[in-house]
Amino acid sequence: MLIEDDSVLGAAVRDQLTSDGQSVDWVQRLDEATRALDAASFDLILLDLMLPDGRGIPFLKRFRGRNEPIPVIIMTALDQISERIEGLNAGADDYLVKPFDLTELSARIGSVGRRYAGNPNPSLTHGSLIIDLAAKTVCRDNKYISLTAREWVLFETFIAKPKQLFSKHQLEEKLYAFDQDIESNTIEVHISRIRKKLGADIINTERGLGYRLGSA
């Protein structure tokens, strides 16, 4: 979820994250953010600290009181280091000072996401695959295997939690913002493409339940 009131910056951030394969819900007010959090779950929150209906830090403190293990990266235009320290003390996992490079934003999101997944190390191996989560590359026998943004998001979801079973609905949530129409067979199409590129056994289907990471 992106909580940012500036339209120009918000649009650029949304486009950047979407091109990274992320599904972005963008709100511009804290009350909208609260309603969105009550309605859905998110993998990460990008929070601006100065919003039209309040400041981000009290919102962050209230959010942390809900004990939901969701990483939060604060975006601040305030140039005082005390504000950044206050944000970290309030429960932020990282911060970005405006203006920031969009590539740094992507890197910070990846870094925080990996920390929350319990593995801050960006490099993994899975069978014969060498996976670089920061660079978003997959390699086998010294050959890079290209994945689209959507394919990468799905693959990263599985590789981050290798033993977890993911339902189709959970995978759909990873791919689409709430304001986009979901096609009924999109997940099956993407998983089929991943199997073609990485091996038929890379993802196991558990009929009626969902999908789980397989062997490479």
């Binding site: 910056l9 650029a12 305030l78 140039d79």
Partner: protein
């Protein structure tokens, strides 16, 4: 240093002097009055004695056979004659003297009544139509001796009671100045950053208006600082957010466009916007350090602030380019942590932008509050070193920096009265640039 007078001492001195004058005046008036009364009594006695003697003298002289004989009275028994007398006729012939009368003492006859010489008091009385004239004399020495005894009787207690009354004045003045002393102590205990109201609970009526005025001024100052901080925060947000949006859109344009010219143009826009961002940031920092309060009324750990800042700068400049050496224990100081961060950021960015790109910048924080930032690079001539602390000064043709970094550092050091030292080359070496500052640190926790 201007010597200021003490109200307490002045009041005590004035009261003591006045008391002394009053004591002296009262004693003096008492002595005068007593002496006058004493003289009256003595004169009365002298007159009474003359009037008692005269009839006896008249009787004796009438019974004389020869009137032109001078006779001296004989003493019945030996004694010192205190009062002496002389009897004359109208022609001034001495007819009778008391046994100890000294003729040289008595003046010529003037009239009935009192008169005085340097040594004696006289009373003249006459009888038989002035044909018999009596003059009685009393030595003034006795009266003077009595006056001296009376004066001594007054002055001697004064010598005892006067110091006691001075002590009472001193104690009374000190006690009554106690509220002022308490007020002074309350002010002395406050640090320069303490803008809270001064307590008025035991302020006397005379200084209450002053305390209320000071509290009013403190409130206005506190509100002004809060307004400045609030404005600075909002100004930063209002400037940085649209700049962030414009830079982000320029970056998206570079990513989304396949036209090389468009991408080049977008890159130029991004570069210019980033320069504008840095300049506006420096200008806001300069306004902040020149206008607002630079200290807090509580200490902060500068080592923690330095580590947070350096972690942030490493994201921009890369790992390994900034090396921090700091003590293991916290480095507490009442410098505003945001001001310290501004100071350190400018020093480090200056070092990295203008130093050798292949060698790191060293930041040293010592337990006694020395901050030393060092970078390798070309030597900066002395003449350039002196002008670099001025605004918009740059080295040579370098147009990259804002020219405000060291000016901001200098402004902070001036306002906080820190000793700032710029050296090039690095002391003991042949190249490089070093900035050192002595920070005010709280040494209590390190005792």
């Amino acid at each position: 240093m201007i010597q200021r007078y003490s109200l307490q001492q002045r009041l005590g001195l004035v009261l003591s002097l006045l008391l002394m004058l009053v004591w002296i005046g009262a004693a003096w008036m008492t002595v005068i009055k007593t002496r006058a009364e004493m003289n009256r009594v003595f004169d009365s006695a002298l007159q009474e004695t003359a009037q008692r003697i005269l009839p006896l003298v008249v009787v004796e002289l009438i019974g004389r056979d020869q009137l032109d004989v001078t006779q001296r009275s004989a003493a019945i028994r030996e004694h010192q004659e205190f009062l002496t007398y002389l009897v004359r006729d109208e022609r001034g012939r001495i007819l009778l003297l008391s046994h100890d009368a000294d003729l040289n003492t008595f003046p010529s006859w003037q009239s009935v009544g009192f008169s005085q010489s340097a040594s004696h008091r006289f009373y003249n009385e006459e009888a038989l139509e002035g044909s018999i004239r009596l003059t009685i004399a009393e030595p003034l020495a006795y009266r003077q001796s009595l006056v001296r005894q009376i004066q001594t009787g007054f002055w001697t207690p004064l010598l005892i009671f006067f110091p006691i009354s001075l002590l009472i004045v001193y104690v009374a003045v000190r006690l009554n100045f106690l509220p002022l002393r308490r007020f002074r102590e309350r002010l002395a205990l406050r640090g320069p950053q303490d803008l809270s109201s001064i307590s008025i609970e035991d302020s006397p009526a005379e200084i209450l208006p002053m305390v209320e005025t000071i509290n009013g001024l403190l409130k206005r100052l506190s509100e002004a600082f809060d307004a400045e901080r609030h404005f600075a925060a909002h100004a930063a947000h209002e400037i940085r957010t649209p700049l962030a949006g414009a830079i982000a859109q320029a970056q998206r344009l570079q990513l989304e466009s396949i036209d090389v010219a468009v991408r080049r143009r977008a890159l130029d826009i991004e570069t210019t916007l980033k320069r504008l961002t840095r300049l506006s940031e420096r200008l806001m920092q300069l306004a902040r350090v020149e206008g607002g309060s630079l200290r807090k009324d509580y200490p902060s750990d500068l080592k923690f602030v330095a580590s947070i800042l350096i972690d942030e700068l490493k994201r921009t400049f890369g790992e390994g380019l900034i090396i921090l050496e700091a003590p293991t224990e916290p480095l507490l100081s009442d410098i505003d942590p945001d001001v310290f961060a501004i100071l350190l950021r400018n020093l480090i960015e200056n070092a990295l932008r203008h130093g050798d790109i292949n060698s790191p910048c060293h930041v040293l924080l010592t337990p006694d509050g020395q901050l030393i930032v060092t970078n390798h690079g070309l030597v900066v001539p002395k003449a350039d070193l002196d002008r670099l602390v001025n605004r918009f000064e740059r080295l040579g043709d370098n147009k990259e920096g804002s020219g405000l970094g060291l000016a901001i550092v200098y402004s902070i050091s001036e306002r906080l009265d820190l000793k700032l030292n710029l050296s090039s080359p690095i002391p003991g070496q042949l190249e490089g640039f070093q900035v050192s500052l002595s920070l005010p640190v709280d040494r209590r926790d390190r005792a």
